[in-house]
């Protein structure tokens, strides 16, 4: 059985939370995403690299852009490399189906990094460390559950120099 899928920079484990998971998957999920839900309830995709294949770093700025996924509700959250939230001064930890403002083409945009970029929703990622972005899809449409690779993944592009 296929256990993982990669779309763009995003990787998903299709057996997260499932009783069908093998012991390695179960151990990995327990360490990195304890209490995950099964795929029919929630799908999880995690990005630890940008679209160019470079590891995500908290002190770099990234522009993340995409269309709302085919799910009842969705969110993208920034985590430090210990899988806990950044201490965001503005309390913006995620962009989600409620807070996202779509442009005229139906796309959302947000940025991450140590400094706010103009005209975007900013998720602060203070410090100098690795980071990941987690895309959650609550109640994904059956077509997406059946074919997770059909997800249109948000793009992750570095903005400016990473000092």
């Amino acid at each position: 059985m296929v256990q993982t899928v990669q779309v763009g920079a995003w990787k998903g484990n299709l057996l997260a939370g499932s009783p069908d998971a093998d012991m390695y998957t179960r151990a990995t999920i327990a360490l990195n995403a304890l209490l995950a839900l099964g795929r029919d309830e929630t799908m999880y995709f995690i990005a630890s690299q940008d679209d160019a294949g470079h590891p995500l770093r908290s002190h770099c700025s990234y522009r993340v852009e995409g269309v709302p996924p085919n799910a009842r509700w969705w969110s993208v959250t920034a985590y430090a490399d210990d899988m806990f939230l950044f201490d965001a001064p503005n309390k913006h930890y995620s962009l989600n189906g409620t807070t996202a403002r779509l442009d005229a083409t139906g796309r959302f945009v947000f940025t991450t990094g140590g400094h706010e970029l103009p005209n975007t929703h900013w998720l602060p990622t203070p410090g100098y460390r690795g980071m990941v972005l987690t895309l959650r899809l609550y109640n994904p449409e059956p077509e997406l559950q059946a074919a997770p690779a059909s997800l249109i993944p948000p793009t992750i592009k570095a903005v400016g120099a990473c000092l």
Binding site: Y24, A27, L35, G38, E41, S75, F84, A88, R136
Partner: protein
Amino acid sequence: MKRWSDHHRLWFYRVLTLITTAILVHMLAVWAAPRLIMQVLMHGPIAQTMNMQNQAAFPPPVTAAARTVVMPSPDLLYSVCAYDVTTGPVRVSANPNLKSYWSIALYAANSDNYFVINDRKADGKPVDLWLVSEGGTSSARPIPADARVVVSPSKTGFLLMRVLTGDYESEKAVIEPARRTLACTPA
């Protein structure tokens, strides 16, 4: 064909024993890791502080200070219960009556998510579940014939209720009472 000397044979068995032991230790560690993590989650110091053994507990909203469970979602308000069906069923009830997403998920002692009900599946009706152990439905109080029985794969397990909150401060007057309809008590 040249036969091994006793010296070579001894080293062969030593290396074989070492490799076999390493494989067994590796597999035991991989098998045990989720169970140990769940044990800490259900019975560790934070669980004791929250007083959630066979009763619901209602932690505050997730912030950067929340460091109990990895990858907490800042968009969900969590409620929890560490259940134990060793001595009889545990009854789980809730009636959040919210239009937005909520779910009640049950996890076995090995961390598997073996049951989930959400607002759509509940279809506006109150949740009323009787958790029992495998082969153990007997208790001082009989289970009603029309009760929804859920068999827990392990004697102990964890309940996690998720309530969606896009903006907790503006929604808390509604969602706090809604999540506090959760009960998780020995039947």
